[in-house]
Amino acid sequence: METMSGLQGALGGVLIGLSATLLMALLGRIAGISGILSGLIFDRGGDSLWRLAFLLGLVSGPGLLMLSGLDWGNVAGDDAALIGTPASGSTTMLVAGLLVGLGTGLGSGCTSGHGVCGLARLSPRSMAATLVFVLVAMLTVYVSRHMLEGAV
């Protein structure tokens, strides 16, 4: 069971890597989700069409798997599900979403742009950013799950 989830993780990771490679090979762009999507919403210029197409592709990946009825998901404790349920209520999600948007906007990237593409480019900025957001996220989980115990 645990081995299977690790294997699915690695396979999914390879697909994400192929996506990043394809975007670089064809369009010469970094596959950073926060950059692509915030650019789609707020930038005007020649990039809107491929960014919109990327967004449709991103959503249709899990969407097509759901429609096809393939249980290829890796949701913890539910083999048939492809998409997990949010663990927090709307208020926490509102605060978290704002921090994720503000943080990835100011820090010029998220898990994909810094974590995947940046580490693969051996960029010092991305390595530092990835180290910071992973450690701060671990600390946040520690405080909210073990010190405040479900208060958040």
Binding site: L11, V14, I16, M93, G105
Partner: protein, 134 residues
């Protein structure tokens, strides 16, 4: 062709997120929860993605330019600043609170719920705010 390229890259990315289980915030929080019952899945996802991208980029960069554009657009800065590290810290708090980063949040749209919708709207507001400060 550029639109097709964008769609295919997005599709692969979305399939990767769903198959790896990153569309499940419980998996992500399980990885971040080092003091709880630790879930290593995210390490395999990140490892698979970084190794593939590292190799793929080096193959791709043997050519002078991408196939459908005139040049590669890569970040050139190498210095660290408060904006980068402070932004990463804000992002880390939000990621830890919810278990969602931007990719999985958007890829989870086929299973939309109220909390997820709140997250997505707030995330777009955050992007807007970050741009206002420029």
């Amino acid at each position: 062709m550029k639109v097709l390229a964008g769609y295919l890259a997005g599709l692969l990315f979305g399939l990767g997120l769903a198959i790896s289980g990153m569309t499940d915030p419980a998996r992500v929080i399980g990885f971040l929860d080092v003091a709880g019952s630790w879930d290593p899945t995210l390490i395999f996802v990140l490892g698979g993605a970084v190794v593939t991208t590292f190799s793929g980029y080096r193959l791709v960069w043997r050519r002078p330019a991408p196939l459908l554009e005139t040049r590669f657009q890569l970040p050139t800065r190498r210095d660290l600043d408060v904006r980068l590290l402070g932004g990463a810290a804000f992002f880390g708090i939000g990621w830890g609170l919810s278990g969602y980063c931007p990719g999985p949040a958007v890829a989870s749209l086929p299973g939309l719920s109220w909390p997820l919708l709140m997250f997505l709207v707030a995330m777009m507001s955050g992007w807007w705010l970050a741009r206002r400060g420029e």
